[in-house]
Symmetry: C2
C-alpha cells in the first residue's frame, strides 16, 4: 500500500504550488465572501443561470443553517459542495506540505459544517433553511446526495491527511442518514440522486472504514438507477403539481434537456451501452461502477463499467481527453459526433474521466486506462486553469474564435478567456483536488505487483503486507523528456515485482538497468519486469518522444482530412498570437519537418514545436500576384470556380494545448490542415 | 409595363401546377381546419413553440372576430397572416390560370375578413378578440403591422389579378388606420413593428393606388426604425411590469435573443452596415428599403439598402442562396460565419432575399442582383418543398445527417425529412406566393429598356408608354440547357431596347440572331443589344452550361478546403441514398471527370452529375488490406499516427440540391472533399 508520496517534478510542483498558494486561498476568500470577483454566468451554455448577487454565500449558508447567523440562504442549490471540494483540495495540499494556517482554516470550517448538521445526520443548507418539507423529494435536481458525496470524499481525504476524525464523524452520520432513507426496504426511497457522486463517495468511505453498510448502500444506489425510468420525472411532475419552484433559478422544472437519459436513468446501468446525458454525471457514475466492481465483485457493475468505457473511449472521446459534445445539458451526443467548436468538454467531466480511468485501471491493469487518464490530465484538465491560477475554463474547445463566440449564439458557451470564477463553480475546485491529489495516481498495486502508471518525478514509499517497505525514486523530466529512471532505494523482502506503463503512442522504447537491457514482458500496455527489482537497481525506461502527426477516425466528420500534432501525452495547438488570424488557412508541413525545443521563458516553460508549413493565400492576395482574369463567381464573391490554391511558406508555431489563452485573446485550433 | 406573362417552361409549370393543384387546396383545408395534418413544432430550433392544439384556427379566428361564431381565438399571434398569404398565392394562381372554385373560395374568405375588420379599419383577430386594450402596445412581438402588411400585399395582388376592389378597400382602410396611429405627429406612435413587412406592403399599395400617404408612411416607418433603440425593449419592460403574458407561448417576453439588433432597431437603418438579427426581418426590411429608394428617391434609404446588400451578399450568403447562420433567433451571426450543419437558412428568408434582390435590380440594373435572386430561387426556395408539394422545410442545411440531428441538440432544428406543416406556418405559403408570382420576376424595365432577368420559357406582353405593344416569346430548357431564344413577336413602334443577363458563373457565351452574331455591350452583368430588336428577330443567347467545381472564400472556415459542384444556377449535393453513408469520406474527381446527363425519370426530371471520385477507406477497412502493424494510438482507437490515406474509386452521384430528401432519409452534403 502506498504510504507516502512526494512529488519532485518541477512541472507538477509548479502547478501544485500555484494551487496551494494562489488558488486555494483565492477560493477561501470567495467561499467566505471576503472578495468580489468577476463571475461568469455563461458557463452552462444555452441554459441561463440566474444569480441574484455576486456573493458566493458558501460559508454563510452553513452559519445560517447552524443558527449562528441570521439571513437569507443564497447561491445555487448545490452551493455547499464548494466548501467540501475546497476542504478536499486542502486535505491533499496538507499531504503535499504542512500548512498551519490552512489547517486552522479548514478545522474552523469543519466545525461550522458540523454545527450545521441536523441531529439525525441530515445536512444540506438549502433544504434545512429554505424548504425543509422538500428534503429528499426533488432528487432529480436537489443535489442532496451529490453534496453529501462531496462532503464524504472530503472527509475521507481529510482523515487520511490529518489523522483526525471529527470530519469523518460528520460524514458517517450523514451517510447513515442516507442509509436510513434509501434502500430496498419498504418505506425507504427506491432511487438515487439526479447527479451521481454519492456512490463513489460511499465506496471511498467503505475503503477507509471497511464498514460493509456503505459498500451495500453504494451498490444499491448504483443498481436501482434506471430500474424505474420514471423515478425522476415523476418527482418533477409532482413538484409542478405542488407549485414548487425550480431548484435551479432560470431553468424550468421540466426542461426539454432534462429527461431520463440526462440522468442515466432510462435503463438499469448494466443495460446501458451508450454514454448519454450530462457528461459529468456519466463519468461520476462510471467511476463508482468501476470501483464498486473491484470492491464488491458484482458482475453487473463490471458489465456496466466496461460498456461505458468502451463507448466513451472508442466513440465519444476528444483527442484532448475532453468529453461532452454539446452545451445543451452539458452532455454526450452520440458516436463520432465530436465537433471541435461547439463542444462542451467540461473540465469537471475530464476530472471525472480520470476517476473512471483510474478505477478501471485498479481493477483491470490495462495500460489503455492509464493512457486515457494521462491524456485528460495533461490536456483538458490543465487547460481548465490559467497558468497563474487566477482564471478558469469550464468549456475546453479544440477550436475557438473570439469573433465566432461573440456573434454565433450556438458558441456562446465557448469562452476565449478564462473568467475569474463561475456562478456554478464546480470546475475550479475539482481541478484543484485533482492536481493536489496527483500523488495518488502515479502508482497502483495489484496482487503484489507495483504498476507505474504516470511518469512524474517523485519519491514513493510502499508498505508491503509482510511489513517490509519499498522505496522508489522516480526521476524524469517528463512530459518534456521521455527518459524515466526508477531508483529502487529499498526493495522490500522479496524484491519489487514491477510493471512500467508503455503508452500506446510510443513507437520505440528501451528498458535497461545500469546499462544492461532489462528483460520484460509487454502485456496490456505494461512492461512487466521478468525479475523483481532489487535494492540499488536503477531501472531506466526511455520512451521515444518525437512530435507526431495524428489523424482521427474518418467517421469523425469534424476532424476529417485534418491532422493534429502531439508529442507524448501533450496535444499541441496553434494560436493566433503566434500564427496570425484565419487559422483555418494553415497547412502543416510533413512530420519530418516538425522541429521542437524547450523554451523555459514561454508559458512557464514549454516544449514548443514548429512546423515548416504553409498558409493559403486569400483570394485577394492570390489575385494580386496573378494576371488579371475574371474568375466565374456564383452569385456572390464568396464563391468562385475552383482555382489552384496559392500558398505562402509559414513556420507554424505550436504550443501545448493546456497553455492556450494565456497571452493575447485570439483564435486557437488543435486540428489543422495537412500538407497540401 | 408588363401586361401579361404566361410561363411555358415545363420545369416551372410543373411546380406551379403542384402548388395550384396540391398545395393551395391543402392549405385551404388547413386554414379551415378541414383536415388534421402532422404539425412540426421544431421549426424554430432552440425556441420552444407551445401549441395547445393541432388546429390552425385561421379562418375560425376571423369568424369569431366578426361575431359570426363563438369560441376561443387560437393559434399564433400572427395566425391571420396565413390567410393573407394564402390569398396572395391564390391571386397569382388566378393570374396563371382561371379557376372558378378557387376564386369563389377566395372571395368568400375576403368577405369573412372584411366582416372582421373594425369600423376604424383596425384588423387583427388576436387583439380584437383576446386583448383589445393591448392594440399597438406590444409592437416588439405583436406582428400587428406584419399581418396588416400581408393583408395589403395580398389585396394588391388580388386586385391586379381579378380587377375587383373589395379586398383593396379593406387594405386601404387598414392602411389608413395605421397611418392614423403611426407617424411623426405628436400623439402618434413613433416606431414601427417588431417584424418588418408593412413597409414593403405600403410601397406596393402606393405603386397600385399612387396615393402619396402610403409612400410617406412607408418612408416614415423605415426611417424611424432604430432612432430610439429602446423603443421595443421599453414596450417589453412595460408588458412585464403590467404582468402581461408573452404573445408567443413558451417564449419569455424578455428573451436573451430578442434585443434591439434582433429587430434591426439598435441604430437608424442608414447607419447599419451589418445584417444582424432575425434574417427574415432583415430581408423584408431590405426589400422595402430598395423599393422605397426607387419610389421616393430618398438617399438615406438607398444608403441603407446598399450597405445591407454589400454585407449580406459579400459576407453572409450561402452558396445555395440561403441566409441566417443560427437557429437562435433564426438569425444572421457575422461575416464569414457560415456553418453548413447548424445553419438556419430559412425558406422564408430566401424568399425575402429574392424580394430584396428584385427591388435592388429594379433600381440599379445590376446583373449581380438577378444572380442572387436566381441562386436563392433554384436552390433554397425550391428545397423548401417536397417535389409532391406535401412536405416543407423551414431550415435548409447544406450538410445534414439524420443521426446527428437526433443526438445533437444543437442540430435539433435541422430536419431530415419535410414535415406536412408547421406550427409557425410562414414558409410554405411564402414559397407558394413566390413560385406562383414567378412571372413577375422574369423581366424588368428601366428607362425604356427591357431587361431579361431570369431565363424561363414564357410569353410576355409589355405595354409601352406610347401605347404600342411588345411581345417576347422566350424558349429555353433552362436550367438544364443553356440556350435561350427570344422571338420578338411584336417589337412596338421603335423596336425593343433589350438587355440580356449574363450570369457571373458563365465563362463562355454566344449571342446571335438568325445565325449572325448580334453585337451587344456587356455592362454590369447585362448584354445590351447595340441595335433595338425588331419584329421577327430571334435573339439567341447560349450560355455554356458545364458542371463546375466551386470553392469558397478561404475565410469561410466551414467550407475551407472543400469543393461544391454547380451547373448554371443549380447547386448539387450528394445524398446517402446514392452514395452510401459517411459522406465526409467522399472526394470528388477533377472537373474534367464530371459527367452529366438528364434523367427524366429521376426526381421529376433532373440533370444528374457523376464525378469519378474516391472514397477514403475507414481505418478497419484499410487495415484489412495492409500488413498487420501496430499503429501508435493516442489514448483512444479514434486517434492514431497519421497514415497514408487509402481510397477506393467511387463514382459519386450528385443531384440538384433542391431535390434532396425526396427519397430515403439519409445524409446529404453540398461541400465535398476535393480530389486527394
Amino acid at each position: 500500500m502506498l504510504e507516502q508520496i512526494e512529488i519532485t517534478s518541477p512541472f507538477w510542483q509548479a502547478r501544485q504550488q500555484t494551487i496551494a498558494q494562489q488558488m486555494i486561498p483565492y477560493q477561501w476568500d470567495i467561499i467566505n465572501d471576503l472578495k468580489q470577483v468577476e463571475i461568469a454566468v455563461t458557463n452552462t451554455g444555452g441554459d441561463s443561470t440566474a444569480l441574484d448577487s455576486d456573493k458566493s454565500y458558501v460559508v454563510e449558508n452553513f452559519l445560517i443553517a447552524a443558527g449562528k447567523k441570521q439571513g437569507k440562504r443564497g447561491g445555487m442549490v448545490f452551493q455547499d459542495s464548494d466548501a467540501y471540494k475546497w476542504l478536499e483540495a486542502v486535505a491533499y495540499t496538507l499531504e503535499v506540505q504542512p500548512n498551519d494556517d490552512l489547517r486552522a482554516k479548514a478545522d474552523r470550517l469543519i466545525d461550522i459544517i458540523a454545527a450545521a448538521q441536523a441531529d439525525d445526520g441530515y445536512l444540506n443548507t438549502y433544504f434545512q433553511v429554505n424548504e425543509p418539507e422538500r428534503k429528499y423529494q426533488s432528487l432529480y435536481m436537489s443535489h442532496e446526495l451529490y453534496c453529501a458525496g462531496h462532503l464524504i470524499e472530503a472527509a475521507v481525504a481529510y482523515t487520511l491527511a490529518t489523522k483526525t476524525t471529527k470530519f469523518l464523524e460528520v460524514a458517517c452520520k450523514l451517510a447513515d442518514n442516507i442509509d436510513a432513507h434509501f434502500g430496498p426496504e419498504e418505506g425507504k426511497i427506491h432511487g438515487g440522486d439526479g447527479h451521481e457522486e454519492i456512490e463513489l463517495a460511499l465506496l471511498r468511505l467503505y475503503e477507509l472504514t471497511q464498514a460493509e453498510r456503505y459498500l451495500k448502500l453504494a451498490e444499491y444506489l448504483l443498481l436501482i438507477r434506471g430500474q424505474d425510468p420514471d423515478f425522476f420525472t415523476a418527482q418533477q411532475r409532482r413538484d409542478v403539481a405542488l407549485g414548487r419552484k425550480s431548484l435551479i433559478p432560470g431553468l424550468e422544472i421540466i426542461h426539454p434537456d432534462f429527461k431520463a437519459p440526462y440522468f442515466q436513468s432510462d435503463k438499469p446501468v448494466d443495460e446501458q451501452t451508450e454514454a448519454k446525458g450530462h457528461a459529468v454525471r456519466v463519468v461520476y457514475l462510471c467511476a463508482a461502477l468501476a470501483l464498486g466492481a473491484k470492491l464488491s465483485g458484482n458482475q453487473r457493475l463490471l458489465t456496466a463499467a466496461n460498456n461505458y468505457w468502451r463507448n466513451i473511449v472508442q466513440k465519444c472521446l476528444y483527442l484532448t481527453g475532453a468529453i461532452g459534445s454539446t452545451a445543451h445539458g452539458e452532455a454526450f451526443t452520440g458516436d463520432y459526433d465530436l465537433p471541435n467548436d461547439s463542444i462542451y468538454g467540461e473540465t469537471c467531466a475530464s476530472v471525472g474521466l480520470i476517476f473512471f480511468a483510474h478505477n478501471m485501471l485498479r481493477q483491470n491493469q490495462q495500460g489503455a486506462c492509464a493512457d486515457v487518464m494521462e491524456q485528460a490530465l495533461y490536456n483538458t484538465v490543465l487547460s481548465g486553469m490559467n497558468l497563474d491560477g487566477k482564471g478558469f475554463f469550464y468549456v475546453n474547445p479544440l477550436e475557438a474564435s473570439p469573433y465566432r463566440s461573440k456573434v454565433n449564439p450556438g458558441l456562446r458557451h465557448v469562452l476565449t478567456r478564462r473568467p475569474g470564477w463561475f456562478a456554478c463553480a464546480c470546475c475550479p475546485p475539482n481541478l484543484a483536488r485533482m492536481v493536489m491529489s496527483l500523488g495518488h495516481y502515479l502508482y497502483h498495486e495489484d496482487n503484489g505487483t507495483i504498476f507505474s502508471d504516470l511518469f512524474v518525478a517523485s519519491n514513493a514509499t510502499f508498505k508491503q503486507k509482510d511489513g517490509s517497505t519499498i522505496e522508489l525514486q522516480q526521476s524524469t523530466n517528463y512530459p518534456w523528456d521521455g527518459t524515466v529512471r526508477y531508483e529502487v532505494k529499498q526493495a522490500g523482502s522479496a524484491g519489487v515485482k514491477f510493471a512500467l506503463r508503455l503508452p500506446q503512442w510510443c513507437e520505440h522504447y528501451h528498458l535497461s538497468c545500469k546499462g544492461q537491457e532489462r528483460p520484460a514482458e509487454l502485456k496490456d500496455g505494461y512492461l512487466y519486469l521478468k525479475e523483481p527489482a532489487q535494492t540499488g537497481d536503477i531501472i531506466e525506461l526511455t520512451l521515444e518522444l518525437e512530435p507526431m502527426l495524428v489523424e482521427a477516425d474518418a467517421r469523425i466528420g469534424a476532424d476529417y482530412g485534418k491532422q493534429a500534432v502531439v508529442r507524448g501525452p501533450i496535444v499541441y495547438c496553434a494560436e493566433e498570437v503566434d500564427n496570425g488570424a484565419q487559422l483555418q488557412c494553415l497547412h502543416l508541413g510533413s512530420e519530418g519537418e516538425l522541429r521542437g525545443h524547450y523554451d523555459p521563458e514561454l508559458l512557464g516553460g514549454v516544449y514548443v514545436i514548429e512546423s515548416q508549413g504553409q498558409r493559403r493565400k486569400l483570394a485577394e492576395a492570390a489575385a494580386a500576384t496573378s494576371p488579371a482574369t475574371t474568375i466565374p463567381a456564383i452569385a456572390s464573391p464568396l464563391y468562385r470556380k475552383a482555382q489552384p490554391a496559392q500558398y505562402e511558406a509559414q513556420s507554424i508555431k505550436l504550443i501545448p494545448y493546456y497553455a492556450w489563452c494565456n497571452r493575447a485573446e485570439g483564435e486557437m485550433r488543435v486540428w489543422l490542415n495537412p500538407q497540401p
